[in-house]
Amino acid sequence: MAIREDVIVIGGGLAGSMAALEAADGDASVRLITHKKSTLRHASGLIDVLGYLDEEEPVADPFAAISELPDDHPYSIAGEAAIRDGLARFDEAVGDTYLGSHTDSNALLPTFGGAVKPTARYPAAAAAGLASDSRDMLIVGFEELTEYNAGMLADHLDAADVPFDVEGVELNFPGEYAHDSRVTRFAKRLDINEDVDHDGQTMGARQALADAVAPHVGDAERVGFPAFLGDDHTADVRADLERELGVDVFEIPMGPPSFPGMRLADQLKDALDDAGVHISAGNPVINYEADGDEIEAVIVDSKGREVPYHAEEFILATGGLVGKGIDSDRDGTVEEPIFDCHIPHSDDRYDWFDEEAFGNQPFAHFGVRIDEGMRPLDADGEPEFANLRAAGGVVGGTDPVTEKSQSGISLTTAAVAGQRARERAAKREVSQ
């Protein structure tokens, strides 16, 4: 068959993209197979490594805290060096559009709910919003955005005892909009600096926005906006607003649709392209062919037709329950649908959740268990296949949402899976 690579990665989110970049760092030919838009589109764009060990205080230095994690935590299995490898690979992929690599310590960033979030890497667009910075802050919201309220956000930050004064102001976004307009419209207007009518004049959207905000800046030395300041030209939009307002401008990540997440997805795609990774997007992997414990091909459902894609090594990065790398059913099934890898779970679905909404939820731990080579393990603790590795949300054994470790686990498992797949594919080539 004509479609053959050294390494095939299944899944095009953060873990899949990073695993493919890692695997492609050498001579290996790598193909990424991705079905639909990934969960990066809903992600904050912040890269958390470890934010909380318990509910109380945020973790100051994730690396110092790793030793406190249980032995079966993905970080404990992969090791500290792997976490650093994963972050280094990420830093290389995104260049200066992300900050935070200068220190092991977590940065604290405001969220759109007004909480302060510990994170390891953050977009340059969010940098001026650091909560550890003592400069006074103005938060701008828009009447057109129902899910984001600047006054509430400012009050919450204030209640969190941030070391600066913070005010919130709700404005109308310049131009005419429907009551429930989408953030993509605002972003596009700013991105192309489309003309809008403002104060009886026609002017570029960036100028109009700056004019609307300027009277409210007061003593603030930095101004925060919901994260829709442009899409492809976000640095230009921010620079124009900063020039007009005379203060630093930053973005606060929002719920879906999330521009920081979408921009990261675009950047990763460019990095994959630059690295020569082949990408097949739009069709799902539904099955595989194996010879004993070696997978020989995965089967792609190409609009009803089954096309095999052959490789030496395979990486499963299809995500968790939200990303649909793990499926559950009311009959008590919890499964990994492509390779049917073992996922520890109770057969009684009433055991899957805790009655406390923010309690220790068993379902949050769903996922494959892995060995030190990131290979999914069967019920007896043996690798399911010799040449299948897992990365990202499909890996279980901890609750990444509660401990704020989702992106870090993705980067770490992707780094190990990508390295091992690359090395093993190279070895096989020599021996053949």
């Binding site: 479609i3 639909k36 838009k37 879906p256 997007a281 190409s302 649909k324």
Partner: protein, 434 residues
């Protein structure tokens, strides 16, 4: 249904009946889209992928047009919102949705219902849309007298009247008819030069390769013959793509019945169906089985391929490309939305970057904005050009000064926005391999 505790007055028999598909849809001709609507968890991926919503403030977006409108329609006396006519049927929402909600199927059925029940059949809008949808009929007349037709269409007065009476934007240049159609050429050539009962492909050329860009059809034939395939050219009608987009589902069904029958015969004799236009292959593969209950429709879907896709899977085309060379040329490649939906958006770039002499750059994942007949309507022209602006910009920044795409109307838009000459991947493949 949710497994939450039911209220005490809950009567299982009536409540269950209420949601039975047979009850919701009295006629088996309709499809039950309920499971699809229920899969939507409002993640907004479709809305953020919609090129129309991004530039058009009044367009409520695919999430509304799909699952929300579908639900609204169930229990209340609500008509289809007229904004469904602003959907361009680019189908990007299908490609975006992580829950596999059949968005374009919902849009197509809603549009069909709107046109059937609410659009005045004597209105100029209906007549124009009907004419645009049935391009094949128009083209078959025009190509009988191609030079005269080209001359008349090129006249300023034609363009003026087109705009004033029909609502065809005068900015657009009507495509020229070839002086010899693909089928005329095929007949004169005496059919396939290769005879091979074990390797047969049936070519679905579609309207545009037949009446306008005949060189694409010729390239398809020569490339496949180079790989030892016997090419068949069965009788065929329009794929239906422009009809779906205009809610003319009866016209589309009429054409589909012929295509399913004729191509089905070829499939029964062992041939695979090849299309060179990605919207044609999209229609045969996805829209036919989603919309029509015709004998053999599933079989046609499973046996239809886009030309390059077929060669990638069945032949070592990578090797053939590696060993070839062409005159130096840089291309700015645009992946049509409908290619994206079939998982084909990367194949031309990834294949041709290994071809000596060729530089090829993907000009990004924006939509060209023309979406078949959409950009051919005066009231949609501005939206169409706003959507296309990003692609034009990326094309102008790309190294190549020749464009490349699989879709004939994307090619029109690319040429319209940049003035570049636009080629089909098969034409480059022909130059490299034949």
């Amino acid at each position: 249904m949710s497994d939450a505790q039911q209220p005490s007055e809950f009567d299982a028999t009536t409540a269950v009946d209420e949601y039975e598909p047979v009850d919701v849809f009295p006629s088996s001709e309709d499809m039950d889209l309920r499971p699809g609507a229920d899969n939507c968890y409002k993640c907004t991926s479709c809305d953020t992928s919609c090129p129309v919503a991004e530039v058009n403030e009044d367009f409520p977006g695919p999430k509304f047009q799909g699952p929300e409108q579908w639900r609204l329609k169930r229990h209340e006396d609500v008509d289809i919102d007229d904004s469904i006519m602003s959907c361009s049927n680019c189908m990007r929402c299908d490609d975006a949705c992580p829950s596999s909600v059949p968005l374009s199927q919902m849009h197509n059925t809603a549009r069909g219902e709107y046109v059937e029940e609410h659009l005045d059949k004597r209105s100029m809008e209906y007549l124009r849309n009907r004419m645009l949808s049935n391009y094949r009929t128009l083209a078959s007349i025009g190509s009988k007298v191609p030079r005269l037709a080209n001359f008349v269409m090129g006249l300023g007065v034609t363009s003026y009247l087109g705009e004033k009476i029909m609502g065809i934007p005068s900015e657009r240049d009507v495509p020229e008819f070839a002086t010899e159609t693909f089928r005329q050429w095929w007949k004169k050539r005496g059919g396939s030069k290769v005879s091979n009962p074990d390797k047969q492909v049936a070519y679905f050329h579609g309207c545009y390769s037949n009446y306008n860009t005949v060189e694409v059809g010729k390239a398809m034939v020569r490339v496949f013959e180079e790989f030892g395939y016997e090419v068949l050219v069965p009788k065929q009608q329009c794929s239906g793509t422009p009809m779906f987009a205009n809610g003319m589902l009866k016209d589309a069904r009429r054409e589909a019945e012929v295509n399913v029958r004729e191509l089905g015969e070829a499939i029964d004799n062992g041939a695979e169906v090849i299309a060179s236009c990605t919207s044609c292959s999209m229609a045969l593969r996805q829209e036919y089985p989603e919309l029509f209950d015709i004998d053999g429709v599933e079989e046609l879907s499973e046996h239809t391929w886009e030309a390059l896709e077929f060669l990638r899977v069945h032949e070592d085309i990578g090797q053939a490309i590696n060993e070839s060379e062409v005159d130096p040329q840089a291309f700015a490649y645009h992946a049509p939305c409908h290619a994206r939906n079939q998982g084909l958006d990367r194949q031309a770039v990834e294949l041709f970057r290994d071809l000596d002499g060729v530089t090829i750059e993907d000009v990004g994942d924006s939509c060209s904005g023309i979406s078949g007949t959409y950009g051919w309507k005066s009231e949609k022209y501005e939206t169409s050009m706003k959507i296309g602006a990003e692609m034009f910009d990326h094309m102008e920044h790309a190294e190549g000064d020749v464009g490349m795409t699989e879709c004939p109307t994307c090619a029109m838009q690319m040429n319209h926005g940049t003035g570049y000459e636009i080629r089909h991947p098969l034409e480059l493949l022909e130059r490299a391999l034949v």
